[in-house]
């Protein structure tokens, strides 16, 4: 079947099967391979994308459930040249080691900062509680998100 949805700001018609997960559609049909599969059961957050502005694990959503809605992946955050301030903060704080958790982690951070522009450290920890990272011990990630929030606030004001 064919569904229409907005992916990273562009209206797309996508051919899917009924049993296809949103994760499979993004990766295999649209080639958005930043969306990673780490557990297939909503536990690791590697597949996190924004669905109508809210962070969701795309392994627990069917593609057809995204019909008519808007999906954002990390490919939609940065332009060709410039990284998004959150991405740049991850770079500056060395919040990335193997990088496998990174896209999902950044999408969770993005969702958090959208709703909570000045989060406390504890709010950041809770904002990424659904994203596992086995490499960094989270601390540089928390620093990066704190810093990104600061940068985004000064950017806006």
């Amino acid at each position: 079947m064919i569904i229409e949805l907005t992916v990273n700001g562009t209206l797309r018609s996508v051919e899917i099967t009924p049993s296809m997960r949103l994760l499979d559609m993004l990766r295999n049909v649209l080639g958005l391979t930043s969306v990673k599969e780490g557990c297939s059961e909503g536990e690791c957050g590697a597949c996190t994308v924004l669905l109508d502005g809210k962070a969701v694990t795309s392994c627990t959503v069917l593609a057809v459930q995204a019909r008519g809605r808007s999906v954002v992946t990390i490919e939609g955050l940065s332009s060709d040249e410039a990284l998004h301030p959150i991405q740049q903060a991850f770079v500056d704080h060395d919040a990335i080691q193997c990088g496998f958790c990174t896209p999902g982690m950044i999408m969770s951070a993005y969702a958090l900062l959208k709703h909570t522009p000045s989060p406390t450290r504890e709010e950041i920890q809770r904002g990424i509680e659904g994203n596992l990272c086995r490499c960094t011990g989270y601390l540089p990630i928390i620093d990066a998100i704190e810093d990104a929030a600061r940068r985004m606030r000064t950017h806006e004001s």
């Binding site: 997960r21 392994c59 904002g127």
Partner: protein, 285 residues
């Protein structure tokens, strides 16, 4: 596999009607956080799905004269963030805020939590404590109500007929009601409850409801502990009596279970949290 995606209740009824007309293996799908994980792990199952997540009437949270109505497809984020839920049914708001992660709370629905009816489902104890009932509707629009425990404890979890679905959760509005929820799991956050307690009580003595989750198919009412609480007498002796009553209730609920030695002790920790919270709230007045 086929997926129907009704966008309102009347379309949903049509889909349900046709689903029962030609009996076929069919499941309702809401947030998918239980069902899709389950189906992924069991590739031999591939039921047709009826997706409720687009049915707009099921997502509302509304306040009526004497009760609040939470649509079955309200997500835990919606519930956790709703000011009136926070104010009037704080145990439910709290439980919602402790379900999974932000991603799961953005998807997972209260209806799915109830229908899936895991013993660890976090919405069950608060709903029992808050005297909630579930509004059930069928393909013809006929409505009935069930208690959360009835849905949770039905054999094989099929307390609903093939053409029925949970339409909403109804919560009676009581004046001066306080409520609390606590849980413990294998981790501070994003943890399946090993044990949980939900308490609702009125400012004045006479109304106390205390339920424990993760002890059996449906929440267990802790009557002896309720009685101690209802004394509203916050002495050390009563505190101990309260915790002893909780331990006793756990011992009766899961005799011989491997988890008993842990749960009969851990329940005292959760009980202590509730005791402190209730005492503070009531003495604050």
């Amino acid at each position: 596999m086929r997926v129907d995606t009704p966008s309102n209740v009347s379309e949903l009824r049509d889909v349900l009607r046709s689903a029962v007309a030609v009996p076929r293996k069919c499941s309702l799908l809401a947030g998918g956080t239980d069902l899709l994980v389950h189906l992924r792990a069991s590739p031999d199952l591939s039921p047709d799905l009826i997706d409720l997540s687009g049915v707009k009437e099921l997502k509302n949270i509304e306040i009526h004269r004497d009760h609040m109505e939470i649509g079955a497809c309200a997500t835990f984020s919606q519930i956790e963030g709703h000011p009136l839920v926070q104010e009037r049914f704080s145990a439910l708001a709290r439980a919602a805020s402790l379900v999974g992660s932000p991603q799961i709370r953005n998807l997972g629905t209260i209806g799915g939590n109830l229908a899936n009816a895991s013993p660890a489902a976090d919405s069950l104890p608060p709903l029992c404590a808050l005297e909630a009932s579930l509004l059930i509707e069928n393909a013809e629009g006929a409505q009935s109500t069930l208690s959360p425990a009835q849905v949770a404890s039905a054999p094989g979890k099929d307390s609903l007929h093939a053409d029925q679905y949970i339409r909403a959760v109804l919560l009676p509005l009581r004046e001066n009601l306080l409520s609390f929820f606590v849980k413990t799991g294998s981790r501070k956050a994003v943890a399946i409850s090993k044990l949980s307690l939900a308490l609702a009580l009125s400012f004045e003595p006479g109304h106390v409801r205390l339920f424990a989750g993760s002890l059996g198919t449906s929440p267990i009412r802790m009557e002896a502990a309720e009685a101690v609480l209802d004394r509203r007498d916050w002495t050390e002796a009563n505190h101990t009596a309260f915790l002893d009553a909780l331990s006793g209730a756990v011992e009766r609920a899961i005799p011989g279970r491997a988890s008993l030695p842990f749960k009969r002790l851990a329940v005292r920790g959760l009980g202590d949290d509730l005791w402190t919270a209730a005492k503070e709230a009531i003495s604050r007045g």
